[in-house]
Protein backbone atom coordinates (compact mmCIF):
# COMPACT_ATOMS: atom_id res chain seq x y z
CA UNK A 1 0.00 0.00 0.00
CA UNK A 2 1.21 3.50 -0.80
CA UNK A 3 2.49 5.71 2.04
CA UNK A 4 -0.29 8.14 1.25
CA UNK A 5 -3.82 6.99 0.69
CA UNK A 6 -4.55 9.95 -1.51
CA UNK A 7 -3.09 13.31 -2.30
CA UNK A 8 -5.04 16.24 -3.68
CA UNK A 9 -2.96 19.11 -4.99
CA UNK A 10 -4.49 22.52 -5.71
CA UNK A 11 -7.59 20.93 -7.22
CA UNK A 12 -10.37 23.11 -8.52
CA UNK A 13 -13.56 21.86 -10.13
CA UNK A 14 -16.28 24.10 -11.50
CA UNK A 15 -19.75 23.29 -12.75
CA UNK A 16 -20.63 26.38 -14.77
CA UNK A 17 -20.42 29.34 -12.43
CA UNK A 18 -20.37 27.14 -9.31
CA UNK A 19 -17.01 26.24 -7.85
CA UNK A 20 -17.64 22.82 -6.30
CA UNK A 21 -14.03 22.36 -5.18
CA UNK A 22 -11.86 25.39 -4.68
CA UNK A 23 -8.07 25.06 -4.74
CA UNK A 24 -8.16 22.07 -2.41
CA UNK A 25 -4.92 20.53 -1.22
CA UNK A 26 -4.82 17.67 1.23
CA UNK A 27 -2.87 14.46 1.77
CA UNK A 28 -4.12 11.71 4.05
CA UNK A 29 -2.50 8.47 5.09
CA UNK A 30 -4.18 5.05 5.03
CA UNK A 31 -6.80 4.51 7.69
CA UNK A 32 -10.45 5.34 8.20
CA UNK A 33 -11.23 8.81 7.00
CA UNK A 34 -14.37 10.78 7.65
CA UNK A 35 -15.41 13.10 4.86
CA UNK A 36 -17.58 15.64 6.61
CA UNK A 37 -19.47 18.67 5.41
CA UNK A 38 -22.95 19.99 4.74
CA UNK A 39 -24.79 19.51 1.45
CA UNK A 40 -22.91 21.30 -1.30
CA UNK A 41 -19.62 21.10 0.57
CA UNK A 42 -17.99 19.24 -2.32
CA UNK A 43 -17.83 15.76 -0.76
CA UNK A 44 -19.51 14.05 -3.70
CA UNK A 45 -17.43 15.90 -6.27
CA UNK A 46 -14.27 14.95 -4.39
CA UNK A 47 -15.24 11.26 -4.26
CA UNK A 48 -16.08 11.32 -7.97
CA UNK A 49 -12.68 12.77 -8.75
CA UNK A 50 -10.90 10.33 -6.43
CA UNK A 51 -12.60 7.42 -8.21
CA UNK A 52 -11.55 8.79 -11.59
CA UNK A 53 -15.11 9.44 -12.67
CA UNK A 54 -14.59 13.18 -13.01
CA UNK A 55 -11.50 15.10 -14.07
CA UNK A 56 -10.48 18.24 -12.18
CA UNK A 57 -10.32 21.57 -14.03
CA UNK A 58 -6.92 22.16 -12.51
CA UNK A 59 -4.64 20.46 -10.05
CA UNK A 60 -3.88 16.76 -9.59
CA UNK A 61 -5.20 13.85 -7.57
CA UNK A 62 -3.36 10.66 -6.84
CA UNK A 63 -5.05 7.69 -5.19
CA UNK A 64 -2.94 4.78 -3.93
CA UNK A 65 -0.11 6.19 -6.00
CA UNK A 66 -2.08 6.37 -9.26
CA UNK A 67 -3.15 9.51 -11.07
CA UNK A 68 -6.95 9.39 -10.76
CA UNK A 69 -7.55 11.44 -13.91
CA UNK A 70 -5.08 9.60 -16.15
CA UNK A 71 -5.39 6.07 -14.78
CA UNK A 72 -9.00 5.79 -13.63
CA UNK A 73 -9.26 2.05 -14.30
CA UNK A 74 -6.16 1.31 -12.23
CA UNK A 75 -7.67 3.31 -9.41
CA UNK A 76 -11.05 1.60 -9.68
CA UNK A 77 -9.39 -1.83 -9.70
CA UNK A 78 -8.18 -1.01 -6.21
CA UNK A 79 -11.19 0.71 -4.73
CA UNK A 80 -14.65 -0.40 -3.70
CA UNK A 81 -17.75 1.75 -3.57
CA UNK A 82 -20.84 1.38 -1.43
CA UNK A 83 -23.50 3.81 -2.64
CA UNK A 84 -26.00 5.36 -0.27
CA UNK A 85 -29.09 4.63 -2.33
CA UNK A 86 -30.51 1.29 -3.34
CA UNK A 87 -28.69 -0.06 -6.39
CA UNK A 88 -29.05 -3.82 -6.15
CA UNK A 89 -30.23 -6.33 -8.72
CA UNK A 90 -33.40 -7.78 -7.21
CA UNK A 91 -33.55 -10.76 -9.56
CA UNK A 92 -30.23 -12.14 -8.36
CA UNK A 93 -29.50 -14.10 -5.20
CA UNK A 94 -27.12 -12.52 -2.71
CA UNK A 95 -24.33 -14.91 -3.66
CA UNK A 96 -24.96 -14.50 -7.39
CA UNK A 97 -24.92 -10.73 -7.13
CA UNK A 98 -21.75 -10.43 -5.07
CA UNK A 99 -19.90 -12.99 -7.21
CA UNK A 100 -21.02 -11.18 -10.35
CA UNK A 101 -19.75 -7.85 -9.03
CA UNK A 102 -16.46 -9.60 -8.24
CA UNK A 103 -16.22 -10.76 -11.84
CA UNK A 104 -16.94 -7.29 -13.19
CA UNK A 105 -14.10 -6.10 -10.94
CA UNK A 106 -11.79 -8.56 -12.71
CA UNK A 107 -11.83 -11.62 -10.46
CA UNK A 108 -11.85 -15.01 -12.22
CA UNK A 109 -15.24 -16.70 -11.87
CA UNK A 110 -14.18 -19.32 -9.30
CA UNK A 111 -12.28 -16.78 -7.21
CA UNK A 112 -15.24 -14.39 -7.32
CA UNK A 113 -17.60 -17.10 -6.11
CA UNK A 114 -15.27 -18.19 -3.32
CA UNK A 115 -14.83 -14.62 -2.12
CA UNK A 116 -18.54 -13.91 -2.38
CA UNK A 117 -19.13 -16.72 0.13
CA UNK A 118 -16.44 -15.27 2.40
CA UNK A 119 -17.74 -11.72 2.43
CA UNK A 120 -21.39 -12.72 2.76
CA UNK A 121 -20.47 -14.76 5.77
CA UNK A 122 -18.60 -11.79 7.14
CA UNK A 123 -21.52 -9.41 6.74
CA UNK A 124 -23.84 -11.92 8.38
CA UNK A 125 -25.76 -13.08 5.31
CA UNK A 126 -24.45 -16.63 5.15
CA UNK A 127 -27.89 -18.13 5.68
CA UNK A 128 -29.66 -15.76 3.31
CA UNK A 129 -27.11 -15.92 0.50
CA UNK A 130 -29.31 -18.07 -1.77
CA UNK A 131 -32.37 -15.86 -1.37
CA UNK A 132 -33.19 -13.32 -4.02
CA UNK A 133 -32.12 -9.78 -3.12
CA UNK A 134 -35.64 -8.57 -3.84
CA UNK A 135 -36.71 -10.41 -0.67
CA UNK A 136 -34.04 -8.79 1.54
CA UNK A 137 -34.85 -6.32 4.33
CA UNK A 138 -33.31 -2.83 4.41
CA UNK A 139 -30.59 -3.97 6.80
CA UNK A 140 -29.74 -6.99 4.66
CA UNK A 141 -29.58 -4.82 1.57
CA UNK A 142 -27.11 -2.49 3.28
CA UNK A 143 -24.99 -5.47 4.21
CA UNK A 144 -25.01 -6.94 0.71
CA UNK A 145 -24.00 -3.51 -0.61
CA UNK A 146 -21.04 -3.60 1.73
CA UNK A 147 -20.25 -7.16 0.61
CA UNK A 148 -20.13 -6.17 -3.08
CA UNK A 149 -17.84 -3.26 -2.20
CA UNK A 150 -15.24 -5.49 -0.56
CA UNK A 151 -15.56 -8.71 -2.58
CA UNK A 152 -12.49 -7.88 -4.70
CA UNK A 153 -10.48 -7.06 -1.57
CA UNK A 154 -9.95 -3.39 -2.41
CA UNK A 155 -7.27 -1.32 -0.72
CA UNK A 156 -9.65 1.60 -0.37
CA UNK A 157 -13.38 1.62 0.07
CA UNK A 158 -15.68 4.61 -0.36
CA UNK A 159 -18.73 4.31 1.86
CA UNK A 160 -21.55 6.72 1.18
CA UNK A 161 -23.83 7.04 4.20
CA UNK A 162 -23.46 3.36 5.18
CA UNK A 163 -25.95 3.59 8.04
CA UNK A 164 -28.58 5.38 6.01
CA UNK A 165 -32.09 4.02 6.50
CA UNK A 166 -31.12 1.59 9.26
CA UNK A 167 -32.88 1.32 12.60
CA UNK A 168 -30.73 1.85 15.72
CA UNK A 169 -29.98 -1.85 16.02
CA UNK A 170 -29.07 -2.19 12.35
CA UNK A 171 -26.98 0.95 12.56
CA UNK A 172 -25.06 -0.46 15.47
CA UNK A 173 -24.45 -3.69 13.57
CA UNK A 174 -23.22 -1.84 10.50
CA UNK A 175 -20.88 0.31 12.58
CA UNK A 176 -19.52 -2.83 14.25
CA UNK A 177 -18.96 -4.41 10.85
CA UNK A 178 -17.10 -1.37 9.60
CA UNK A 179 -15.08 -1.13 12.76
CA UNK A 180 -13.99 -4.75 12.52
CA UNK A 181 -13.11 -4.26 8.86
CA UNK A 182 -11.07 -1.14 9.59
CA UNK A 183 -9.21 -2.94 12.37
CA UNK A 184 -7.84 -5.44 9.86
CA UNK A 185 -5.41 -2.72 8.93
CA UNK A 186 -4.76 -3.44 5.27
CA UNK A 187 -7.84 -1.68 3.98
CA UNK A 188 -8.70 2.02 4.18
CA UNK A 189 -12.10 3.63 4.20
CA UNK A 190 -13.42 7.00 3.21
CA UNK A 191 -16.69 7.49 5.00
CA UNK A 192 -18.96 10.21 3.68
CA UNK A 193 -21.73 10.86 6.15
CA UNK A 194 -23.96 13.48 7.67
CA UNK A 195 -24.04 11.55 10.93
CA UNK A 196 -21.11 13.08 12.72
CA UNK A 197 -21.22 10.64 15.66
CA UNK A 198 -20.53 7.84 13.13
CA UNK A 199 -17.41 9.66 12.02
CA UNK A 200 -16.33 10.15 15.60
CA UNK A 201 -16.75 6.47 16.37
CA UNK A 202 -15.12 5.03 13.29
CA UNK A 203 -12.59 7.43 11.87
CA UNK A 204 -9.02 8.12 12.81
CA UNK A 205 -8.67 10.96 10.30
CA UNK A 206 -11.10 13.40 8.82
CA UNK A 207 -11.47 16.01 6.17
CA UNK A 208 -13.90 18.84 6.90
CA UNK A 209 -15.22 20.60 3.82
CA UNK A 210 -17.49 23.56 3.37
CA UNK A 211 -18.34 25.23 0.05
CA UNK A 212 -15.56 23.31 -1.67
CA UNK A 213 -12.92 24.52 0.76
CA UNK A 214 -10.97 22.64 3.35
CA UNK A 215 -11.87 23.63 6.88
CA UNK A 216 -9.68 21.08 8.59
CA UNK A 217 -7.88 17.84 7.83
CA UNK A 218 -5.83 15.40 9.82
CA UNK A 219 -6.03 13.10 12.79
CA UNK A 220 -9.39 13.22 14.58
CA UNK A 221 -7.81 13.21 18.04
CA UNK A 222 -5.38 16.01 17.14
CA UNK A 223 -8.12 18.13 15.63
CA UNK A 224 -10.48 17.67 18.54
CA UNK A 225 -7.96 18.20 21.31
CA UNK A 226 -6.40 21.17 19.52
CA UNK A 227 -9.77 22.76 19.03
CA UNK A 228 -11.05 23.11 22.57
CA UNK A 229 -9.28 24.76 25.46
CA UNK A 230 -12.26 24.86 27.80
CA UNK A 231 -12.29 23.31 31.23
CA UNK A 232 -15.37 21.61 32.60
CA UNK A 233 -16.13 21.92 36.29
CA UNK A 234 -18.88 20.11 38.17
CA UNK A 235 -19.71 21.26 41.66
CA UNK A 236 -21.91 20.13 44.53
CA UNK A 237 -23.83 23.02 46.01
CA UNK A 238 -25.14 26.30 44.68
CA UNK A 239 -23.32 27.11 41.47
CA UNK A 240 -24.34 30.78 41.32
CA UNK A 241 -21.84 32.08 43.88
CA UNK A 242 -19.18 29.87 42.33
CA UNK A 243 -19.80 31.46 38.93
CA UNK A 244 -19.68 34.90 40.54
CA UNK A 245 -16.39 34.04 42.24
CA UNK A 246 -14.87 32.88 38.96
CA UNK A 247 -16.05 36.07 37.26
CA UNK A 248 -14.49 38.17 40.02
CA UNK A 249 -11.15 36.57 39.07
CA UNK A 250 -11.42 37.89 35.53
CA UNK A 251 -12.65 34.60 34.00
CA UNK A 252 -15.75 34.15 31.84
CA UNK A 253 -17.56 31.06 33.12
CA UNK A 254 -20.74 29.61 31.52
CA UNK A 255 -23.39 27.42 33.06
CA UNK A 256 -24.26 24.72 30.54
CA UNK A 257 -26.21 21.53 31.13
CA UNK A 258 -25.37 21.30 34.82
CA UNK A 259 -21.69 22.06 34.28
CA UNK A 260 -19.51 25.12 34.53
CA UNK A 261 -17.40 25.73 31.43
CA UNK A 262 -14.54 28.14 31.66
CA UNK A 263 -11.41 28.94 29.65
CA UNK A 264 -8.46 29.09 32.00
CA UNK A 265 -5.46 31.36 31.45
CA UNK A 266 -2.48 29.15 30.50
CA UNK A 267 -4.38 26.17 31.89
CA UNK A 268 -3.87 27.48 35.44
CA UNK A 269 -6.43 25.75 37.71
CA UNK A 270 -5.67 27.67 40.91
CA UNK A 271 -8.48 30.25 40.40
CA UNK A 272 -11.02 27.41 40.24
CA UNK A 273 -10.00 26.03 43.62
CA UNK A 274 -9.96 29.52 45.13
CA UNK A 275 -13.43 30.26 43.76
CA UNK A 276 -14.72 26.96 45.16
CA UNK A 277 -13.40 27.80 48.61
CA UNK A 278 -14.79 31.34 48.46
CA UNK A 279 -18.26 30.20 47.36
CA UNK A 280 -18.43 27.18 49.63
CA UNK A 281 -19.05 24.58 46.93
CA UNK A 282 -17.49 21.17 46.64
CA UNK A 283 -15.60 20.36 43.42
CA UNK A 284 -16.73 17.06 41.95
CA UNK A 285 -15.00 17.17 38.58
CA UNK A 286 -12.34 19.27 36.94
CA UNK A 287 -11.17 18.36 33.48
CA UNK A 288 -10.55 19.37 29.88
CA UNK A 289 -13.64 19.67 27.78
CA UNK A 290 -13.80 17.14 24.93
CA UNK A 291 -15.11 18.69 21.76
CA UNK A 292 -17.27 16.79 19.34
CA UNK A 293 -16.78 16.84 15.60
CA UNK A 294 -19.97 18.83 15.40
CA UNK A 295 -18.54 21.52 17.67
CA UNK A 296 -15.29 21.51 15.75
CA UNK A 297 -17.13 21.79 12.48
CA UNK A 298 -19.29 24.68 13.63
CA UNK A 299 -16.29 26.50 15.11
CA UNK A 300 -14.32 26.09 11.87
CA UNK A 301 -17.26 27.31 9.80
CA UNK A 302 -17.48 30.40 12.06
CA UNK A 303 -13.72 30.99 11.80
CA UNK A 304 -13.80 30.59 8.01
CA UNK A 305 -16.75 33.00 7.82
CA UNK A 306 -14.92 35.58 9.90
CA UNK A 307 -11.73 35.16 7.90
CA UNK A 308 -13.52 35.61 4.57
CA UNK A 309 -15.67 38.53 5.73
CA UNK A 310 -14.60 41.84 4.15
Amino acid sequence: MSEELFRVEAVTKRFGPVEAISNLSVALRPGTIGLVGPNGAGKTTLIRMLMGLLAPDSGALSVLGFDAAREPLRVRERVGYMPEHDCLMPDLTGIGFVAYMGQVSGLPREVAMSRAHDVLEFVGLAEQRYRRIGEYSVGMRQRVKLAQAIVHDPELCFLDEPTSGLDPHGREEMLNLLRSLSKLGHRSFVLSTHLLPDTERLCDQMLLLDSGRKLAAGSVSDLLSGHNSETVVRVKGDAAPFLAALSSKGLEPRWEEGEVRVTLRDGETRPVFEAAVESGVELRHLGRSTATIEELFLARVREEGTRRAP
Partner: protein
Protein backbone atom coordinates in the same frame (compact mmCIF):
# COMPACT_ATOMS: atom_id res chain seq x y z
CA UNK B 1 -24.82 -11.43 14.07
CA UNK B 2 -21.31 -12.82 14.42
CA UNK B 3 -18.62 -10.30 13.73
CA UNK B 4 -15.46 -11.73 12.31
CA UNK B 5 -13.03 -10.51 9.71
CA UNK B 6 -13.56 -11.94 6.23
CA UNK B 7 -11.08 -14.71 5.57
CA UNK B 8 -10.74 -14.84 1.85
CA UNK B 9 -10.74 -18.52 0.95
CA UNK B 10 -9.05 -17.59 -2.28
CA UNK B 11 -6.13 -15.26 -1.77
CA UNK B 12 -5.36 -15.04 -5.48
CA UNK B 13 -4.75 -11.46 -6.48
CA UNK B 14 -5.01 -12.27 -10.17
CA UNK B 15 -7.15 -9.78 -12.03
CA UNK B 16 -8.57 -10.40 -15.46
CA UNK B 17 -8.39 -7.78 -18.18
CA UNK B 18 -11.14 -5.51 -19.44
CA UNK B 19 -12.26 -7.94 -22.13
CA UNK B 20 -13.00 -10.64 -19.55
CA UNK B 21 -14.83 -8.16 -17.33
CA UNK B 22 -16.97 -7.11 -20.29
CA UNK B 23 -17.60 -10.77 -21.17
CA UNK B 24 -18.89 -11.32 -17.64
CA UNK B 25 -21.48 -8.61 -18.28
CA UNK B 26 -22.31 -10.06 -21.71
CA UNK B 27 -22.86 -13.53 -20.24
CA UNK B 28 -25.22 -12.24 -17.59
CA UNK B 29 -27.08 -10.02 -20.07
CA UNK B 30 -27.55 -12.88 -22.52
CA UNK B 31 -29.24 -14.91 -19.79
CA UNK B 32 -31.16 -11.93 -18.46
CA UNK B 33 -32.56 -11.04 -21.89
CA UNK B 34 -33.64 -14.62 -22.48
CA UNK B 35 -37.11 -14.02 -21.11
CA UNK B 36 -40.11 -15.92 -22.38
CA UNK B 37 -40.94 -13.04 -24.72
CA UNK B 38 -37.55 -13.15 -26.41
CA UNK B 39 -37.49 -16.92 -26.66
CA UNK B 40 -41.04 -16.99 -28.04
CA UNK B 41 -40.28 -14.31 -30.62
CA UNK B 42 -37.10 -16.08 -31.73
CA UNK B 43 -38.95 -19.40 -31.93
CA UNK B 44 -41.70 -17.78 -33.98
CA UNK B 45 -39.09 -16.30 -36.31
CA UNK B 46 -37.45 -19.70 -36.71
CA UNK B 47 -40.68 -21.51 -37.46
CA UNK B 48 -42.23 -18.96 -39.79
CA UNK B 49 -39.18 -17.73 -41.71
CA UNK B 50 -37.53 -21.13 -42.07
CA UNK B 51 -40.83 -22.62 -43.20
CA UNK B 52 -41.35 -19.91 -45.81
CA UNK B 53 -37.84 -20.35 -47.22
CA UNK B 54 -38.05 -24.15 -47.33
CA UNK B 55 -41.54 -24.33 -48.82
CA UNK B 56 -40.77 -21.63 -51.37
CA UNK B 57 -37.56 -23.34 -52.44
CA UNK B 58 -39.20 -26.76 -52.64
CA UNK B 59 -41.98 -25.43 -54.89
CA UNK B 60 -39.49 -23.52 -57.01
CA UNK B 61 -37.35 -26.61 -57.47
CA UNK B 62 -40.38 -28.48 -58.85
CA UNK B 63 -41.27 -25.88 -61.46
CA UNK B 64 -38.02 -24.18 -62.46
CA UNK B 65 -34.29 -24.02 -61.89
CA UNK B 66 -33.48 -22.81 -58.41
CA UNK B 67 -31.50 -19.56 -58.32
CA UNK B 68 -30.35 -17.17 -55.59
CA UNK B 69 -33.38 -14.96 -56.16
CA UNK B 70 -35.63 -17.84 -55.17
CA UNK B 71 -34.28 -17.58 -51.63
CA UNK B 72 -35.37 -13.97 -51.25
CA UNK B 73 -38.64 -15.17 -49.69
CA UNK B 74 -38.17 -13.67 -46.17
CA UNK B 75 -37.98 -10.16 -47.65
CA UNK B 76 -41.09 -10.40 -49.79
CA UNK B 77 -43.34 -9.49 -46.89
CA UNK B 78 -42.90 -7.32 -43.78
CA UNK B 79 -43.30 -10.35 -41.50
CA UNK B 80 -39.56 -10.98 -41.13
CA UNK B 81 -38.67 -7.39 -40.07
CA UNK B 82 -41.68 -7.25 -37.75
CA UNK B 83 -40.63 -10.50 -36.05
CA UNK B 84 -37.19 -8.99 -35.56
CA UNK B 85 -38.86 -5.95 -34.08
CA UNK B 86 -40.59 -8.20 -31.55
CA UNK B 87 -37.25 -9.73 -30.60
CA UNK B 88 -35.61 -6.29 -30.32
CA UNK B 89 -38.48 -5.09 -28.15
CA UNK B 90 -38.29 -8.06 -25.84
CA UNK B 91 -34.50 -8.30 -25.64
CA UNK B 92 -33.68 -4.60 -25.70
CA UNK B 93 -36.36 -2.80 -23.71
CA UNK B 94 -34.77 -3.52 -20.36
CA UNK B 95 -31.15 -3.39 -21.50
CA UNK B 96 -30.44 0.01 -19.96
CA UNK B 97 -33.83 0.84 -18.48
CA UNK B 98 -33.68 -1.93 -15.85
CA UNK B 99 -30.26 -0.82 -14.64
CA UNK B 100 -31.45 2.77 -14.53
CA UNK B 101 -34.60 1.71 -12.68
CA UNK B 102 -32.84 -0.21 -9.92
CA UNK B 103 -29.79 2.06 -10.19
CA UNK B 104 -27.41 -0.86 -10.56
CA UNK B 105 -25.82 1.10 -13.41
CA UNK B 106 -24.00 2.94 -10.62
CA UNK B 107 -22.31 -0.28 -9.53
CA UNK B 108 -21.16 -1.06 -13.06
CA UNK B 109 -19.69 2.37 -13.63
CA UNK B 110 -17.88 2.35 -10.28
CA UNK B 111 -16.00 -0.78 -11.41
CA UNK B 112 -12.83 -0.85 -13.51
CA UNK B 113 -14.62 -0.69 -16.85
CA UNK B 114 -15.29 2.21 -19.19
CA UNK B 115 -18.71 3.51 -20.06
CA UNK B 116 -18.34 2.19 -23.61
CA UNK B 117 -17.50 -1.25 -22.21
CA UNK B 118 -20.77 -1.23 -20.31
CA UNK B 119 -22.92 0.00 -23.20
CA UNK B 120 -21.01 -2.25 -25.59
CA UNK B 121 -21.72 -5.32 -23.43
CA UNK B 122 -25.41 -4.43 -23.40
CA UNK B 123 -25.39 -3.97 -27.18
CA UNK B 124 -23.63 -7.29 -27.74
CA UNK B 125 -26.14 -9.17 -25.58
CA UNK B 126 -29.17 -7.52 -27.15
CA UNK B 127 -27.68 -7.74 -30.64
CA UNK B 128 -26.90 -11.44 -30.25
CA UNK B 129 -30.57 -12.23 -29.74
CA UNK B 130 -31.58 -10.08 -32.69
CA UNK B 131 -28.93 -11.68 -34.88
CA UNK B 132 -30.07 -15.16 -33.86
CA UNK B 133 -33.59 -14.26 -34.94
CA UNK B 134 -32.46 -12.40 -38.07
CA UNK B 135 -29.93 -14.78 -39.55
CA UNK B 136 -30.67 -18.02 -37.72
CA UNK B 137 -33.95 -19.05 -39.41
CA UNK B 138 -32.95 -18.48 -43.07
CA UNK B 139 -29.50 -19.99 -42.45
CA UNK B 140 -31.10 -23.05 -40.90
CA UNK B 141 -33.47 -23.29 -43.85
CA UNK B 142 -30.62 -23.06 -46.35
CA UNK B 143 -28.68 -25.72 -44.44
CA UNK B 144 -31.69 -28.04 -44.52
CA UNK B 145 -32.28 -27.37 -48.22
CA UNK B 146 -28.62 -28.04 -48.99
CA UNK B 147 -28.66 -31.28 -47.00
CA UNK B 148 -31.79 -32.33 -48.88
CA UNK B 149 -30.03 -31.56 -52.14
CA UNK B 150 -32.62 -28.95 -53.16
CA UNK B 151 -30.15 -26.06 -53.27
CA UNK B 152 -26.71 -26.34 -54.86
CA UNK B 153 -23.82 -25.59 -52.50
CA UNK B 154 -22.64 -22.53 -54.44
CA UNK B 155 -26.08 -20.90 -54.18
CA UNK B 156 -26.38 -21.96 -50.56
CA UNK B 157 -23.09 -20.24 -49.68
CA UNK B 158 -24.12 -17.05 -51.48
CA UNK B 159 -27.51 -17.11 -49.80
CA UNK B 160 -25.96 -17.71 -46.39
CA UNK B 161 -23.64 -14.73 -46.82
CA UNK B 162 -26.57 -12.63 -47.99
CA UNK B 163 -28.74 -13.57 -45.00
CA UNK B 164 -25.83 -12.90 -42.67
CA UNK B 165 -25.17 -9.47 -44.20
CA UNK B 166 -28.81 -8.40 -44.05
CA UNK B 167 -29.14 -9.91 -40.58
CA UNK B 168 -26.12 -7.95 -39.34
CA UNK B 169 -27.53 -4.74 -40.76
CA UNK B 170 -30.89 -5.41 -39.09
CA UNK B 171 -29.04 -6.16 -35.85
CA UNK B 172 -27.06 -2.91 -35.94
CA UNK B 173 -30.16 -0.84 -36.58
CA UNK B 174 -32.53 -2.55 -34.17
CA UNK B 175 -29.92 -2.71 -31.40
CA UNK B 176 -29.38 1.03 -31.79
CA UNK B 177 -33.13 1.66 -31.63
CA UNK B 178 -33.57 -0.61 -28.60
CA UNK B 179 -30.66 0.81 -26.61
CA UNK B 180 -31.48 4.43 -27.35
CA UNK B 181 -35.11 4.09 -26.30
CA UNK B 182 -34.14 1.97 -23.32
CA UNK B 183 -31.75 4.73 -22.23
CA UNK B 184 -34.58 7.27 -22.17
CA UNK B 185 -36.53 5.70 -19.33
CA UNK B 186 -36.12 3.68 -16.18
CA UNK B 187 -39.16 1.54 -17.02
CA UNK B 188 -38.62 -1.35 -19.43
CA UNK B 189 -42.34 -1.39 -20.30
CA UNK B 190 -42.21 2.18 -21.56
CA UNK B 191 -39.04 1.41 -23.50
CA UNK B 192 -40.70 -1.64 -25.05
CA UNK B 193 -43.77 0.30 -26.09
CA UNK B 194 -41.45 2.95 -27.52
CA UNK B 195 -39.32 0.52 -29.55
CA UNK B 196 -42.27 -1.33 -31.04
CA UNK B 197 -44.42 1.77 -31.40
CA UNK B 198 -41.84 3.97 -33.09
CA UNK B 199 -40.76 1.43 -35.71
CA UNK B 200 -44.31 0.25 -36.40
CA UNK B 201 -45.58 3.84 -36.63
CA UNK B 202 -42.83 4.71 -39.09
CA UNK B 203 -43.72 1.66 -41.18
CA UNK B 204 -47.46 2.34 -41.26
CA UNK B 205 -47.12 6.11 -41.38
CA UNK B 206 -44.60 6.13 -44.22
CA UNK B 207 -46.68 3.65 -46.23
CA UNK B 208 -49.79 5.80 -45.79
CA UNK B 209 -48.07 9.08 -46.60
CA UNK B 210 -46.30 7.55 -49.61
CA UNK B 211 -49.61 6.18 -50.92
CA UNK B 212 -51.31 9.55 -50.56
CA UNK B 213 -48.54 11.82 -51.79
CA UNK B 214 -46.70 9.47 -54.13
CA UNK B 215 -43.44 10.88 -52.81
CA UNK B 216 -40.58 8.48 -53.56
CA UNK B 217 -38.50 9.55 -50.56
CA UNK B 218 -41.09 8.94 -47.87
CA UNK B 219 -40.48 5.13 -47.75
CA UNK B 220 -36.94 5.91 -46.57
CA UNK B 221 -38.49 6.85 -43.23
CA UNK B 222 -39.66 3.25 -42.72
CA UNK B 223 -37.00 0.89 -41.29
CA UNK B 224 -39.12 -2.12 -42.25
CA UNK B 225 -39.20 -1.01 -45.88
CA UNK B 226 -35.47 -0.26 -45.83
CA UNK B 227 -34.64 -3.73 -44.48
CA UNK B 228 -36.79 -5.40 -47.10
CA UNK B 229 -35.19 -3.32 -49.85
CA UNK B 230 -31.70 -4.31 -48.73
CA UNK B 231 -32.72 -7.98 -48.64
CA UNK B 232 -34.27 -7.83 -52.08
CA UNK B 233 -31.23 -5.95 -53.37
CA UNK B 234 -28.79 -8.50 -51.97
CA UNK B 235 -30.70 -11.42 -53.49
CA UNK B 236 -31.26 -9.61 -56.82
CA UNK B 237 -35.07 -9.67 -57.14
CA UNK B 238 -37.48 -10.77 -58.43
CA UNK B 239 -39.42 -8.25 -56.30
CA UNK B 240 -38.74 -4.58 -56.89
CA UNK B 241 -37.40 -2.75 -53.84
CA UNK B 242 -39.31 0.38 -52.79
CA UNK B 243 -36.08 2.15 -51.92
CA UNK B 244 -32.57 2.00 -53.31
CA UNK B 245 -30.87 -0.96 -51.54
CA UNK B 246 -27.44 0.68 -51.17
CA UNK B 247 -28.90 3.91 -49.82
CA UNK B 248 -31.22 1.92 -47.55
CA UNK B 249 -28.27 -0.02 -46.14
CA UNK B 250 -26.38 3.21 -45.51
CA UNK B 251 -29.39 4.82 -43.81
CA UNK B 252 -29.88 1.80 -41.52
CA UNK B 253 -26.19 1.52 -40.60
CA UNK B 254 -25.80 5.23 -39.91
CA UNK B 255 -29.06 5.40 -37.97
CA UNK B 256 -28.02 2.39 -35.87
CA UNK B 257 -24.62 3.88 -35.10
CA UNK B 258 -26.07 7.30 -34.23
CA UNK B 259 -28.73 5.77 -31.97
CA UNK B 260 -26.09 3.62 -30.26
CA UNK B 261 -23.94 6.69 -29.66
CA UNK B 262 -27.00 8.46 -28.25
CA UNK B 263 -27.55 5.59 -25.80
CA UNK B 264 -23.92 5.84 -24.68
CA UNK B 265 -24.28 9.59 -24.21
CA UNK B 266 -27.42 9.05 -22.14
CA UNK B 267 -25.61 6.51 -19.96
CA UNK B 268 -22.77 8.98 -19.47
CA UNK B 269 -25.24 11.37 -17.83
CA UNK B 270 -25.64 8.99 -14.90
CA UNK B 271 -24.09 10.32 -11.72
CA UNK B 272 -22.28 7.38 -10.18
CA UNK B 273 -21.74 9.12 -6.86
CA UNK B 274 -24.90 11.09 -6.31
CA UNK B 275 -25.58 13.97 -3.94
Amino acid sequence: MTISAPRYGSTSSERLGRTRRVLAIVRRELRRRAGWGTVAAVALAFVSVAAVVIVDAEFASLTRTLRLTTLEAPFESPIWPLLLLLVATSAGAGALAEDAGNRSIVLYLSRPIRLLDYVGAKAIACGTWILIAAAGPPLTAVLILTLLGVVPTSIAVSAALGYLAVGLLATIFLTGVALSLSSLTSRPLYAGVGIFGVVLSLFIGAAAVAAITGNLYVPYASPVTLLRSVGIGVFGGPSTPETDPATSAAVLAIAGAVLGAFAAWRASRVEVVSE
